[in-house]
């Protein structure tokens, strides 16, 4: 119900990065990383501040050009496609810091999530679905997005991302700065999203919580992938425990 049909199965991977290099100007941030996400998975991408997680997600969304390597989605090379084309293919990003349009109302923020849906009625129906799923947002539908609390903004950011009925959702630190009870709600929501048929890439600081719900995870350190494994295996791994779980 939540998602459009993911692209027809070719190779098992829905998304794959191979030897991806990119950065900002002269500064290379990702030194050739590879990653694979299979249909229906939750894949956690972990790493310390500045490791390059947000950069990797920006490259997948087409915000940053790759200087080498390739990104493919649904068996198709999407390297170099502009962001709007990538959204149109069903890859949506819920960015770090939520990035709610502050001067747009809650409803208009949701409208923006469905920007590529040209049919006005289909957009309206999508908004009603979102309001049914998030009653708090329905109560605040005509309020400027900038006036919502942090937790409400995160819900709105996710709801906005769902508006385009994506096949793959990239979530960048969705629990950052939220109260524990709201963090619980966010992780429940991520499970629900996957249950709705959407594949999830989850970038998180909260390694414990994200590895608990992830099928697999990757560990990124200063622009290189250093570990890969199932959620449970990473949770038990010495390196992860020492650096990211404070154990």
């Amino acid at each position: 119900m939540l998602s459009r049909a993911a692209p027809a199965a070719g190779p098992a991977a829905l998304l794959s990065l191979r030897g991806l290099r990119c950065g900002y100007g002269q500064l290379e941030v990702l030194h050739g990383i590879s990653l694979e996400v299979r249909r229906g998975e939750i894949v956690a991408l972990l790493g310390a501040n500045g490791a390059g997680k947000t950069t990797a997600i920006a490259a997948i969304s087409g915000l940053l050009p790759a200087t080498a390597g390739a990104i493919s989605y649904g068996g198709r090379d999407i390297t170099g496609l502009p962001p709007d084309r990538i959204v149109a293919l069903g890859v949506v990003q819920v960015p770090e810091g939520r990035r709610i349009f502050p001067g747009l109302t809650v409803r208009e923020n949701l409208e923006m999530g469905a920007y590529l849906t040209e049919n006005r009625r289909a957009r309206a129906a999508g908004i009603e679905r979102a309001f049914a799923m998030f009653p708090r947002l329905a109560e605040r539908r005509d309020q400027p997005g900038g006036t919502l609390s942090g937790g409400e903004q995160q819900m709105l950011a996710i709801a906005r991302g769902l508006m385009s009925q994506p096949a793959l959702m990239l979530l960048d630190e969705p629990s950052l700065g939220l109260a524990p009870i709201v963090v619980d709600a966010v992780f429940d929501l991520i499970r629900e999203i996957r249950a709705g048929g959407i594949t999830v890439v989850l970038v998180e600081q909260n390694a414990q919580r994200s590895l608990e719900i992830a099928d697999r995870g990757y560990l990124l350190e200063t622009g290189a992938m250093v570990l890969e494994g199932t959620g449970a295996a990473l949770l038990a791994h010495q390196r992860v425990r020492a650096s990211y779980l404070g154990a």
């Binding site: 969304s61 915000l63 502009p82 962001p83 709007d84 959204v87 149109a88 949506v92 990003q93 960015p95 990035r99 349009f101 502050p102 001067g103 747009l104 208009e108 409208e111 923006m112 999530g113 920007y115 590529l116 040209e118 006005r120 400027p144 900038g146 906005r160 385009s164």
Partner: protein, 303 residues
């Protein structure tokens, strides 16, 4: 006297508002002052003369709708110019240091002025409004006691208000209008929503140029003469109106323009008409001292 100055001020103010919108919309999205915008307004005035010539040739200048056709013609052509200027002079510099597009804008400004001077002549050109109206529309109109609202003034105020209302509806209600506001607030996020930012930017230039050209025709209609350098002072004043109203704010540009027109009119009527061009700066200074972000400006939300 008071009522007369009010009407005169509203007329000129509505024209400033239309020009100011072009500055503010582009600034809202690109944080860039398009200093060539005054030239597009000037171009609009000349396009009005050309349109009037064409209508006269076809024997259609006397039609009731002829003035609107003239405005429409100028708007459409100027819109094409605006889109082309953006494509040629600004888009290649999108990633360049902030000073580069400003310099490019000055270049466009010089090119347009000289283009019009060479093709249309350096001397004043007459806009033969008597061809549009059977009687002299400037002299006759509605009388309200001691004051007269000429039909030309009614036409200008009415058309300007309709254009501004149309713009407001477009920006508030349509999908593209929403994308424009979203892009102004957070361009990266707008991209992530699937907005093609290039299209939004082009649309902004096209709309701003069309409104500026409409203002150009109105000035030609009001004063009857134009020349190739009217874009400089009018552009500067409209820019001041946009800043005073709160640069980036659409209602702010509308308000700033009207305020400026009224100040000039009342200043000329009650103080001195010699200092007419100074009032704009006085207003700007007073507004910025009291409210640095402009009357309706907001540091965070734009457009």
């Amino acid at each position: 006297m008071f009522l007369q100055q009010l009407i005169n001020g509203l007329t000129v103010g509505a024209i400033y508002s239309l020009i100011a919108l072009g500055y503010t919309m582009v600034y809202g999205i690109l944080e860039f002052i398009n200093f060539a915008h005054g030239e597009v307004y000037m171009l609009g005035a000349y396009l009005g003369i050309i349109a009037l010539g064409l209508l006269t040739q076809w024997g259609a200048a006397g039609w009731a709708l002829a003035p609107l056709l003239v405005i429409l013609f100028a708007m459409v052509w100027a819109a094409a110019w605006g889109g082309t200027i953006e494509r040629v002079a600004y888009r290649p510099l999108r990633a360049a240091p902030r000073l580069s597009p400003l310099i490019s804008a000055l270049g466009v400004s010089i090119v347009l002025q000289n283009f019009v001077m060479l093709t249309q002549g350096a001397r004043d050109q007459v806009f033969r409004r008597e061809l549009l109206f059977s009687s002299d529309f400037n002299a006759c109109g509605l009388s309200l006691g001691a004051c007269t609202v000429s039909y030309t003034q009614l036409l200008i105020i009415g058309t300007a208000l309709a254009l501004m209302a149309g713009l407001t509806l477009f920006v508030d209600r349509t999908r593209m209008g929403r994308a424009m506001r979203a892009t102004a607030q957070d361009q990266r996020m707008a991209r992530l929503c699937g907005v093609d930012v290039d299209t939004v930017i082009r649309t902004t230039f096209v709309i701003g140029s069309a409104l500026g050209a409409a203002a150009g025709v109105m000035v030609a209609l009001y004063y009857g003469v134009v020349n190739f350098y009217i874009g400089y002072v009018a552009g500067l004043k409209a820019f001041i109106a946009a800043v005073a109203g709160g640069i980036g704010s659409i209602p702010g540009a509308m308000l700033g323009g009207l305020l400026l027109g009224l100040a000039e009119s009342f200043g000329a009527g009650y103080l001195s008409s010699q200092y007419k061009d100074v009032y704009a700066f006085v207003i700007l200074i007073v507004v910025l001292l009291v409210r640095p972000q402009g009357i309706l400006g907001n540091k965070r939300d734009k457009v």
